[in-house]
Amino acid sequence: MHEPLIFTHSRTGRSAAGQYPHAAAAEVPEKFRRKQRAALPEVSELQAVRHFTRLSQLNFSIDTHFYPLGSCTMKYNPRACNQFAMLPELLGRHPLAPESASQGFLACMFELQEMLKEVTGMKGVSLTPMAGAQGEFAGVAMIRAYHRARGDMDRTEIIVPDAAHGTNPATATMCGCTVIEVPSLPNGDMDVEALQQALGPRTAGIMLTNPSTLGVFERRIQEVAKLVHEAGGLLYYDGANLNAILGKVRPGDMGFDVIHMNLHKTFSTPHGGGGPGSGAVGVGQRLLPFLPIPIVGRDGERYRWLDARDVPHTIGRLSAFMGNAGVLLRAYVYMRMLGRAGMQRVAEYAALNANYMLARLQQAGFEAAYPGRRASHEFIITLKRQAKQLGVNAMDFAKRLLDHGFHAPTTYFPLLVPECLLIEPTETEAKEELDGFVEALVAIQREAEQDPAKVKGAPYTLPVRRLDDVRAAKQLDLTYQRG
């Protein structure tokens, strides 16, 4: 299947813009005026609709395929969340509309803040960060602001485990900190002795995901929290894996001082082909004065925005308005539909699905990266044996899975497990789907033993075969040039 570029459908003088009645000429002095029109397509409405509908059909998505992308929590995005966030009044509300005309919206946001405080065990929440990485930024910026407010200017080191997501060290750098990596032990836990070595008077804090990116729960977390706090540092919780513990254990209770939540993971807002996300942050007592603004407050029965006048030590604003409000509304609807009991079931069934798949794959002869450990909501298979013996690597398995109608798991992350597949089924998948995926992997294993070249040439049934990434980076073709 192939869909030509929209520019090739374009003909001069064709337009889908007939629905616009106003046609008065603009008044632009000569020196400011555009001389040549932009090369936008000129197509009919049907041509545009058909083109983009066809493009959509070239995608795998949760609505069409099992999508067990580890660390991304590709769970079902309930349609009701979208519908109720897109009520005309909510879509039409200007971000700077007067508070008197915004009480309905602000009530939703205030209650969302309260619910997120409850599920994370934190004391305050700001909804403004627009993605996980911006939530991380807010978290580390608050840690820095906290130390600085105490006159503790030398605390500029951020400790991250070697298994951390790349955004963690990138965030630390953005905040002007240096990064200290701490290794993991063969059993998947953090090397606490190495952590002790890394801690000191320059420690600003530590960034942790728990369960970690290795798909296991950090069992010595209380000890880690104690050590970091005793050294004068703060603990940052990366909420990438919050789905694994929702309603079971709370980051605030584990000793974390600040957390970001990926609402597009745990609270099921759509991933949208790469965003929008939403990276709300929660903090404990010590970081409350530094929360990014705006925050929704309540005076009696009236909701209002809190800004720098209310939060004078804030790290400031991270977006032009209040972040991805429409995403926040979707998360709010989702949380109200799940309710107290439903939220606890999330972690339970996510863990059940992950541990079931892990057990079945181990029984089929696949090698777990951390055998003997319970899976969290995800787990890692390593294909280093297949790579060595058959010359078929994790990427080959991933591409062949596409031919079987499954989106591939996360590959080559975390970086420290060779030839890994990080598999996260989520709680919304049925057993039959998990069984089908296991059987596909078993079939690929058999094929790799009998005809490895076949696996290495995959995929065969998708709109394109394997793409030349080297050429893409060397012979840059980033925009269409009309021939």
């Binding site: 106003h22 046609a23 632009v28 005026r33 932009a38 936008l40 397509p41 409405e45 609709v49 983009f52 493009l55 995608n59 998505s61 949760i62 395929h65 009701a80 909510l90 039409g92 971000p95 509309a97 007067p98 005309a101 919206f105 939703c108 409850e118 627009m130 990485a133 910026a141 790349g166 955004t167 953005m174 002007g176 990064v179 069992r219 991933h271 949208g272 082909g273 400031g316 991270l318 032009a320 308005f321 209040m322 991805n324 409000a325 429409g326 539909m337 309710g339 439903g342 079931r345 059940l352 699905n353 541990n355 450990r373 591939a408 919304t428 709109p463 793409l467 840059l476 980033l478 925009t479």
Partner: protein, 452 residues
């Protein structure tokens, strides 16, 4: 159970396969002292019907006031086809196109988007989006520091006629990296930058100059002169633009002799609803020579094993998942779904359609200004050429006027008096193609009552 498909039988079989006695046993590695029993602060579940009713009540409470407020977010008509396609599950529920072969729809759309944005802004390359216009400016400032290797100062000149929140955000995001922002005053008579404030910096090491066109007051800056000043003084030029205005206005790539170096802005006017401020998307385009310093995802066209064309994420060596602490930015997820909306919007309208929308917005704003300035106590603050916003001077406090207008179902504009006290009782108003002559009459009538 909402959204969970497991039957009792499934659970039994799965636990047997795992060899665990219960689901609870799967959490045994979590220290017992940490485990909680329930989430008392979370309300009981609502059904879809109940939550639908709740949301409609909340929405109705805020209603649909007649909107004349812009200040960085603009109410435009969105053709029905746009969100009908955007909310297709294949776009809505997919993720970042890591598996290119299974994501050609998203990837090709992003490549088409990059082509359109590069052409619209008159630049060579575009990324696949950033979070919003304000954070895109922050990223542009950081990028300018990386790209301008000869400049050591990390000093950036910013006019006070830039959206003040954009500057707040740029400061907050770059706070840890020792950038210095010098704010240049605008001319009290024209509301635009003028040449004089820049000349104080002649001969100094300036990394970049920022200019917004149209500026926060809706006025047109002399961008050619500013671009040439930047070039002569070896500073990069960062342009902040409303993409819709570029249907009418000279694209940043053509400003002055050399054009802008980095162009950013908020893509919201292109098919993205106001929605309380987000999700919108930030765009960024630049010269080819700076592409490796550009943050965010970039899509490239290449070929597959059979030599057929296809699309993939490229130049990933800039990004956090490869470079970690040395990445150009920590950005990972961007605003793909909103870019999807904008790409469809641009395709439906084409340049001719965008011109119509932009021209109608400008015309209706002029009509609005004429109507409101007929009222005693309302004056136009700046007379120069503008796009679709204007500053009005009132004879009383804007906050009180806005509240009284809100009681009459009109969102009347943006109160400039807090961020620009020197302007006095100044109100920023906006009309777009969605405001009819009758809407403007309704505003005028409400304003007349309020200003009595």
């Amino acid at each position: 159970m909402p959204f969970i498909p497991h039957t009792d039988n499934d659970v039994r079989e799965m636990l047997a396969t795992i060899g665990a006695p219960s689901i609870d046993a799967l959490f045994e590695e979590i220290p017992a002292a940490l485990r909680i029993k329930s989430l008392d602060g979370i309300p009981e579940a609502l059904t879809e019907m109940e939550v639908g009713r709740l949301m409609q009540q909340r929405a109705s409470r805020d209603g649909r006031p007649l909107n004349f407020l812009g200040a960085g977010a603009y109410e435009h008509h969105i053709p029905a086809a746009v969100w009908a396609i955007v909310t297709r599950g294949e776009f809505y529920s997919a993720y970042t196109p890591y598996q290119a072969e299974a994501s050609q729809g998203t990837l090709q759309l992003l490549y088409e988007y990059q082509t359109m944005m590069a052409s619209l802004t008159g630049m060579q390359v575009s990324n696949a989006s950033l979070y919003d216009g304000a954070s895109a400016l922050a990223e542009a400032c950081l990028m300018a520091v990386r790209a301008h290797r000869k400049s050591k100062s990390a000093r950036i000149l910013v006019p006070a006629s830039l959206n003040p929140t954009y500057l707040d955000v740029a400061r907050a995001i770059t706070e840890g990296q020792n950038l210095k922002f010098d704010v240049l005053p605008y001319e009290a008579t024209s509301g635009t930058l003028g040449a004089n404030p820049l000349d104080a910096y002649r001969g100094q090491d300036i990394t970049a100059v920022v200019v917004q066109q149209p500026n926060f007051f809706g006025l047109l800056e002399d961008v050619d002169a500013i671009a040439d000043w930047a070039q002569t003084n070896n500073a990069l030029l960062i342009a902040v633009v409303n993409p819709l205005s570029l249907a009418l206005l000279k694209p940043p790539g053509e400003w002055g002799t050399k054009g802008a170096d980095i162009v950013v802005g908020d893509g919201q006017p292109f098919g993205v609803p106001l929605s309380s401020g987000g999700p919108y998307f930030g765009f960024m385009t630049t010269r080819l020579e700076h592409v490796r310093q550009m943050p965010g995802r970039i899509i490239g066209r290449t070929v597959d094993l059979d030599g057929k064309p296809g699309f993939t994420l490229t130049l990933q060596a800039r990004e956090q998942h490869i470079r970690r602490s040395k990445a150009t930015s920590n950005i990972c997820t961007n605003q793909g779904l909103l870019v999807t909306a904008a790409t469809i919007y641009m395709s439906l309208l084409g340049s001719a359609g965008l011109e119509k929308v932009a021209a109608a917005s400008q015309t209706q704003t002029s009509t609005l200004v004429a109507a409101l300035t007929r009222i005693k106590g309302v004056k136009l603050a700046f007379a120069g050429p503008r796009f679709h916003e204007a500053v009005l001077h009132l004879d009383r406090k804007p906050a009180e006027v806005l509240e009284a207008l809100a009681q009459r179902g009109v969102v009347g504009g943006y109160d400039l008096s807090r961020q620009y006290p020197e302007l006095g009782n100044a109100l920023l108003v906006c009309a777009t193609e969605t405001r009819t002559d009758e809407d403007i009459e309704a505003y005028e009538k409400a304003m007349r009552e309020v200003m009595k």
